[in-house]
């Protein structure tokens, strides 16, 4: 192997010797069989799925689809669009997301400590708290919204409660993980000065985890603004109610206008929370 030669000039023995000395460079036939097998199975599955779910329907020209496409992009009678209603809906969406995230953060601040391994040593209690949180998180926000609409009626209150409950589950979990990852030294330092449990948490733990908490809550504010737009589809307040109402009334141009507005709102919140994170928490990248 001292000189590099053309592959065609190599004898069969030389190739075999090279294969024996560098087995990794030649690829494993069993492994490649596995890879090809996976591709074939995926291909067969997709073909079957195309048949099972009737993808051929997509090729048929649909009158509805044509009408929809035209109506989405031809904006008519823009003077009569009831902008006040639309922007009230958007404000309601933002309010729901903000209030839901804020209240959930407050509760998660306490529950997070109760579910952290290094704070609560009693295992049974911690596991109970965690399983309850799993249920809050396991049920989708939209399902919570539907349930709360049944329980407290149509309107933004159901939306706030839905965001609140599902975020308690997620935020508490994230908070408790942050608490479990703290540096013990600061806590021991505070304890050695004779501080009680409350002061240990306040001065030993909270300063370490607060930036993480804030940053996560900001992420959730953004993601909740997104999800609050669709909560209205089941009647839980916000812009979703306007979207579904206009959609049913076949005012597709207004639907597109509202969706564009929501995207802009989400982009603004994204930008503001990035700014807050960079300025106050000192995060360089998100």
């Amino acid at each position: 192997m001292a000189t590099i030669r053309s592959l065609a000039a190599m004898t069969a023995e030389e190739v075999a010797a090279a294969r024996a000395s560098n087995p990794d460079a030649f690829g494993d036939s069993r492994r490649s069989l596995l890879v090809y097998g996976a591709w074939v199975i995926t291909g067969i599955y997709l073909l079957w799925a195309f048949w099972y779910f009737d993808f051929a329907k997509l090729l048929e020209p649909s009158e509805n689809a044509q009408r929809l496409l035209v109506a989405l992009f031809r904006w008519e009678d823009m003077g009569s669009w009831q902008y006040a209603n639309i922007y009230r809906g958007i404000a309601e969406t933002l309010a729901m997301a903000f209030l839901g995230t804020f209240l959930a953060s407050l509760v998660a601040l306490i529950v997070g400590f109760l579910a952290a391994r290094n704070i609560v040593r009693f295992g049974l209690w911690r596991h109970t708290v965690r399983r309850i949180l799993d249920v809050f998180r396991g049920v989708d926000q939209l399902v919570w919204a539907l349930v709360f609409v049944r329980a407290v009626g149509l309107g933004p209150l159901a939306g706030v409660l839905a965001i609140f409950i599902s975020d308690i589950g997620t935020l508490s979990k994230l908070y408790s993980e942050a608490i479990e990852n703290i540096d013990r030294k600061q806590v021991e330092g505070i304890k050695s000065t004779g501080a009680g449990p409350v002061r240990t948490i306040r001065f030993g733990i909270l300063p370490q985890v607060f930036p993480v908490f804030l940053s996560q809550s900001l992420y959730f504010l953004e993601s909740n603004t997104r999800s609050a737009t669709i909560l209205g589809i089941v009647g839980a307040g916000g812009i979703g109610m306007i979207i579904i109402e206009r959609f049913r009334a076949t005012l597709y141009d207004q639907v597109l206008f509202v969706v564009i507005n929501v995207l802009i709102l989400v982009a603004i919140i994204d930008w503001v929370s990035k700014f807050i994170r960079m300025k106050f928490i000192g995060e360089q990248r998100d």
Binding site: T42, Y45, L46, A49, Y52, F53, D54, F55, K57, L58, S62, N64, A65, L68, A91, E92, L94, A95, M96, F98, L99, F102, D134, V135, G138, V139, D140, L142, V143, L146, V147, F148, R150, A151, V152, G153, G155, P156, L157, G159, V160, L161, R226, S227, T229, I230, I233, V234, G237, I243, I244, F247, V259, L263, V266
Partner: protein
């Protein structure tokens, strides 16, 4: 440096009082930040008041709503009886009230719909991942020379992932009719946008050398991507794909709310029309399915990353 001077000063006694100096410094810092803090507190408080007023989150409404929430949860609890719990059907084929069979009378229908939900998630994830794989290379800053291509690839991704799945599903249900196909397409489009962004971020962190190597032996752009970039990023792609699959199972389970197939359709029907144990029956099944798939997918994810990292 500062610490050494401080300690020498204290030792020699030139420094009056370290605690005093600390407090002084702290006071100065606090004063400097006071204005900013007040401003942010006011903004925050203003936003809070605005939110409370807009969503009418008033104490009296809450107080009247609270008992109703508990009442509702009581109505969806099943009336199970211990001694009849495992009672089967009687000779007429009717289930005994109070037994599990009675609670889950519609179980075959639920199972079928959950199976459909999982298939929707798999198909949507596969199609979406394929779309993301195509989109992510033109959407990576370091892999394309034309900034026009980059710009349009990025904007396209943003549109795909910016619009919520359920809205896309709503549009598709209208365009091609009620059924799981609308749900699959909605999931696929959203997945393509979301994954393409993550894939592009992975692509932007690859080593340039294998790409240069492929270019050096005369590989065109596609060959550079296939043999230079893809082997570096594939384990990450698989892991992100599986993570997305978990998210898509959740999404497919609710996308039926607008008529786009899966268990969501049944869930919506049951919650909207009945206020009895059927609601809880479907909810439990959905949560169990989602949790089980999360666990399986997590195992697979660890397997893929673990294997490739060794």
């Amino acid at each position: 440096m500062a610490i050494t001077t401080d300690s020498t000063l204290t030792e020699t006694g030139h420094r009056p009082d370290p605690v005093g100096v600390y407090e002084q410094h702290r006071k100065e810092l606090k004063r400097a930040r006071l204005g900013q803090n007040i401003l942010f507190f006011l903004l925050f408080f203003g936003l809070l008041v605005f939110s409370v007023v807009t969503s009418q989150f008033y104490p009296e409404r809450l107080a009247s709503a609270f008992p109703r929430i508990f009442e509702y949860f009581q109505t969806i609890l099943p009336a199970l009886e211990w001694d009849l719990l495992f009672e089967g059907r009687d000779e007429n084929g009717r289930a005994v009230a109070g037994s599990l069979t009675y609670w889950y009378t519609d179980l075959p229908k639920y199972i079928e719909l959950i199976w459909e939900t999982i298939l929707m998630a798999i198909t949507g994830t596969l199609l979406g991942t394929a779309g993301a794989l195509v989109l992510c290379f033109p959407g990576s800053r370091n892999l394309v020379r034309s900034s026009v291509v980059y710009f349009f690839a990025r904007r396209f991704m943003e549109i795909c992932r910016g619009v919520p799945e359920i809205l896309i599903a709503l549009v598709f249900v209208f365009a091609i009719g009620v059924g799981p196909l609308a749900g699959i397409l909605a999931v696929a489009i959203h997945t393509a946008g979301a994954l393409a962004k993550l894939f592009a971020e992975v692509n932007e962190n690859v080593s340039q050398r294998p790409i240069d190597g492929i270019r050096g032996v005369g590989g065109n752009w596609f060959e550079q991507m296939r043999y230079g970039v893809l082997p570096q990023v594939l384990p990450n792609f698989v892991s992100y794909g599986l993570l997305r699959f978990e998210i898509n199972v959740r999404a497919s389970s609710i996308i039926g709310f607008v008529g786009a197939g899966g268990i969501g359709q049944e869930l919506n029907r049951v919650i909207s029309f009945y206020s009895d144990d059927r609601v809880l029956a479907v909810l439990i099944l959905v949560v169990l399915t989602v949790t089980a798939i999360d666990l399986i997918s997590e195992r697979m994810r660890l397997y893929f990353i673990g294997k490739e990292n060794i």
